[in-house]
């Protein structure tokens, strides 16, 4: 089993999974591995903590893809026959670029970029990262400069929120659903329909009028761009569902992570999205654990041999748990392609670490 086979004839690889399972590292290792196999690859992360930058030894990846120095890759043991590009997503900048591209005229563009609600939302609020990741993915795919795009998705429980992100954004900005706001802004309360009039007055009591006035301003200027957003959202959806896209799940063999992986798997299948396989990271290896018998004591003396034995007992308990959990995972997700990566010594946070993962991810074709 090899990631290379999973990615044959694929343009887009989306890595999903819960936090702390090594998803960012796995995404970077997949991208570096495919670059070593002759592809021109871009890996993008939307992780707010910019961990990918650390792992690729780049101080700041910025909102533009940057070429990872082939010498660095070579020094770590990769053979960069292709190219590895990397970026971390700046949600605010991506959002601004979209507005600039989609605004029908300068006046609208400036009205949106200058609107306080737009500034707060595009800058500060959770969720915009997810929206923007999908936009950027789509944009890079449209430009067609890469053989493969690898997307590292945001951590935590809402790991699959990004799937709905484009739709949610376009719905939010959609003129039909917001007619009521912009209508209220332009014509005042008296002229909106009876149903929405009641709703509006209720909302006013619940929230305060200033918010609504600002919102209606925001939406009336944004509304003119909403058709563009709706079309884009549809195209992003089509890209995600395309047979040239694949979703990989990354998990650790811990109970909680496995549960989430099963949950993600169901959601992907429910959404009809192309699923490639599961990477189980940090498996403790039981082949290390056969009984050494009396040999240890002969070689090490009683005291150290006892310590080594106790350590091994603890290790075996955890390795057995990993194995049981993996069995649970297999049972729950059926005959799904799976790659296990052993718990490698030391911490994986740099290019050398990615190279150590490579032999497990790309074992054989």
């Amino acid at each position: 089993m090899s990631v290379e086979r999973w990615l044959q004839r694929k343009d887009v690889c989306v890595c999903a999974g819960s936090g702390g399972v090594g998803k960012t590292t796995a995404s970077a290792a997949i991208a570096a591995g495919m670059a070593s196999r002759g592809k021109k690859v871009a890996v993008m992360t939307i992780d707010p903590a910019r961990r990918l930058a650390t792992s690729l030894g780049l101080p700041d990846l910025g909102n533009e893809e940057r070429l990872v120095d082939p010498e660095r890759l070579r020094a770590a043991g990769f053979d960069p026959r292709g190219e590895l590009w990397a970026m971390t997503l700046d949600a605010k900048r991506t959002f601004d670029e979209i507005v600039e591209r989609n605004a029908p005229d300068e006046r609208t563009r400036d009205a949106v970029l200058g609107n306080r609600i737009y500034q707060e939302l595009s800058n500060a609020v959770a969720g915009s990262q997810e929206y923007m990741a999908m936009e950027k993915l789509h944009e890079l795919h449209q430009e067609g400069r890469y053989d493969l795009l690898v997307l590292d998705t945001p951590p935590s429980r809402n790991a699959l929120d990004f799937l709905d992100a484009p739709k949610r954004l376009s719905q939010f900005i959609d003129s039909r659903s917001l007619q009521f706001f912009s209508g209220a802004g332009r014509r005042g309360l008296g002229l909106v329909g009876r149903g929405t009039g009641l709703l509006f007055s209720v909302l006013k009591r619940a929230t305060g009028i200033d918010l609504l006035t600002d919102l209606s301003e925001f939406f009336s200027s944004f509304g003119e761009m909403s058709d563009g957003f709706r079309e884009r959202a549809e195209r992003v959806d089509a890209l995600l569902a395309d047979s040239r896209t694949t979703f990989l799940l990354v998990t650790s063999p811990r109970h909680a992570a496995i549960q989430e992986a099963v949950f993600f798997h169901h959601r992907l299948l429910d959404a009809g999205l192309p699923f490639g396989g599961v990477i189980v990271n940090r498996m403790r290896d039981l082949s290390d654990a056969s009984d050494a018998g009396g040999e240890l004591e002969k070689q090490l003396g009683t005291e150290l041999a006892r310590k080594v034995e106790r350590n091994l007992e603890d290790y075996v308990r955890l390795a057995e748990r990993d194995r049981l959990n993996l069995g649970q995972l297999r049972k729950q997700i059926g005959r799904t392609p799976m790659i296990t990566v052993p718990d490698l010594p030391g911490d994986i946070h740099d290019i050398e670490g990615l190279a150590r993962m490579d032999e497990h991810l790309f074992r054989s074709m």
């Binding site: 951590p155 935590s156 600002d214 350590n311 290790y315």
Partner: protein
């Protein structure tokens, strides 16, 4: 409590809650972002949007943003008919689900409500301590920032006032403490240092403590490790596992030193527990450790 995903936030939150409850505080652990994991160790699989007692004096609550929003609307609108109309309005549900930031605001708003001495929720008794098991770093920060963000958008009016009441509460060090949970590994340490910096810059808040979870014991001395490494052909299997563990324990200590050098907040550690799954007994054990080590 916040920190990188996978560092054991929920376990540490449960241990902290247990320690507080033992000290006689009526304590609630609030989970956010649909996690619902805390009940498991206490044999309660469904916690939900109710104050569920896990142990004497220890309660859990799972903050569902949709339910929190409906509760907030009911609270804001004294008329049940109007509140019902708004909550069942499709346009409102649509907008509220799509509006970035609103889910974070009502979530932290419910946490704030749970922590008030005069509870707004009907028939609820006050808690002495509310432990919030909040989302991983980036989303956790976004949640903390939501009240001031939305408050600034609203400028004046009831939303502005209420958002700022919440903001003032969570940024007041006498009322709210911030704990980060980390692992003694490269990336969690980097993320914790960044979290401390961003909390200061964006919220003017400091971390009260950093809890480093899962610290491996140093079982072997340097000399012993040398003897193990010198064995022929890597030695028997147990020796390889021992060297692996020795290397891990040493790498962890170097990350711990890095964290201590870089962080302003005091750093305390919890041991790695060699148990297949963490149950009540282990949470109990960690709660005793926290009791001893927390200032």
């Amino acid at each position: 409590m916040t920190g990188k995903g996978g560092t054991g936030k929920t376990t540490v939150a449960a241990a902290l809650g247990l320690a507080a409850a033992r000290a006689g505080k009526r304590t609630l652990v609030a989970e956010v972002a649909e996690q619902e994991r805390i009940g498991e160790a206490f044999g309660k699989t469904e916690v939900g949007y109710t104050e569920t007692e896990l142990a004497p004096g220890l309660f859990a609550f799972s903050v569902d943003p949709v339910k929190a929003r409906e509760e907030w609307v009911r609270y804001r609108l004294p008329s049940r008919t109007l509140a019902g109309a708004l909550n069942s309005s499709r346009i409102f549900g649509y907008l509220a689900a799509a509006a970035p930031g609103l889910a974070e605001l009502v979530t932290i708003g419910k946490v704030w409500e749970l922590a008030q001495l005069e509870r707004k929720a009907k028939g609820s008794a006050p808690f002495d301590l509310v432990v919030v098991d909040s989302p991983a770093t980036g989303h956790g920060l976004a949640m903390l920032r939501a009240p001031s963000t939305i408050g600034d958008i609203a400028r004046v009016g009831p939303i502005h006032r209420q958002a700022y009441r919440i903001h003032d509460f969570i940024s007041d060090p006498r009322l709210t403490g911030a704990l980060a949970v980390a692992l003694p590994e490269e990336m969690p340490v980097a993320e914790t240092l960044e979290l401390e910096k961003r909390l200061d810059e964006e919220m003017d808040m400091g971390l009260d403590s950093i809890v480093v979870n899962g610290l491996y014991p140093e079982r072997f001395s340097r000399d012993e490790a040398k003897r193990l490494a010198a064995l022929d052909g890597g030695g028997p299997p147990g020796a390889r596992a021992a060297l692996l563990e020795h290397e891990r324990a040493r790498a962890q200590r170097s990350q711990l030193r890095r964290l201590r050098r870089g962080a302003g907040a005091p750093v305390l550690t919890l041991p790695f527990l060699f148990e297949p799954e963490l149950g009540l007994e282990q949470i109990e054990q960690l709660s005793r450790e926290l009791e001893r080590r927390l200032p």
